[in-house]
Symmetry: C2
């Protein structure tokens, strides 16, 4: 029968999706606990209790797995930033809350953040194939920046703030900045951005 055949295909599709999720989730957890260097095809395959070729039924390469994890990360980042935006009592200080949330996200998920920004170089922004989660996350940041952009170019201003936050995260993580001044740095940056736009 046609219908039963379809049902079976559906089940197989569900299993496929579940296993794909299992792969990315395991890769992420493994990276978070032991670093990305520990995420080899062999190690990952034993963790998910399948053999290596199974990985290649779902992803074309190891890089694609990292990319999938990164995408997941951008989605979560967007949610985190949105919650931070709406979480405050007053609309004032929205940028502060978002910036703090961004920083916290990077601190809480170092391996994930690595996948998003250092590991995956193929997730570009300009092109038309830019994935939705990236745009979404950037959009949240942009929304917050709108509250302090006094007539200036919001997009560019958002890019600058994002880059500054990103730089603070990366340099801080690599031991290039004094750890005890982290809060102060964020405060200085935000003070500069709260000033009126040029």
């Amino acid at each position: 029968m046609l219908k039963s055949g379809m049902a079976i295909e559906d089940r197989r599709l569900r299993e496929r999706i579940a296993r794909r999720q299992l792969i990315t989730a395991t890769a992420r957890a493994l990276a978070e606990s032991e670093g990305w260097d520990a995420v080899t095809t062999r190690r990952l395959s034993t963790e998910i209790e399948y053999s290596q070729p199974v990985l290649y039924k779902h992803f074309g390469s190891m890089e694609e797995i990292v990319e999938a994890v990164a995408l997941e990360g951008f989605g979560e980042l967007a949610v985190t930033l949105r919650e931070a935006r709406h979480g405050g009592a007053t609309p004032a200080g929205e940028v502060d809350r978002v910036a703090a949330a961004y920083n916290g996200f990077a601190a809480d998920n170092p391996a994930l953040y690595d996948a998003m920004f250092t590991r995956s170089t193929r997730l570009r922004f300009g092109a038309e194939d830019t994935p939705a989660p990236l745009i979404e996350a950037f959009g949240e940041l942009r929304q917050a920046v709108t509250t302090i952009a006094a007539g200036g170019d919001v997009d560019t201003l958002t890019e600058v703030l994002w880059a500054a936050l990103h730089g603070l995260v990366l340099l801080g993580r690599n031991g290039r900045l004094r750890p005890e001044h982290e809060a102060e740095r964020l405060e200085i940056l935000l003070a500069r951005f709260r000033a009126a736009a040029s």
Copy 2:
């Protein structure tokens, strides 16, 4: 004779140093022209026309080679920034010149910049074993920031500016920012920093 023996040792030491330099220079050039992925022990050894174990007579691992290249890069960055500081007619705009020089350095030597910031994670800052070139490069930036720090904490302010510049470089390179607005971003950032310190 003792003296001639010493002379021979001196010659050997010179050769050692020259070969060490040959290794780092070749690695750097190779990375700049074909990317760091092309810098394998085999490829590098054929380029320098020696066999692989020679590399390990000078460096403990591939990572140490990258680290040596990175150190070289920090030295050059310090020189570049110093020239930018002294290059202008007026002391005003010193930060602008240094920031532009930083950006230009990163753009002109992408692989080198990668070695300095992304590839080598072992070059830390806080500890007492922080190499001189790192301190020097940071010092140049700091000197420039002094001219605009109206009573604020210069060190922290320098860290923030550095991080912002670094973030702009990295995000820009990975296609996360709109390329045509690069100059505008730098201008916005500097405008924010020219404002009086909080």
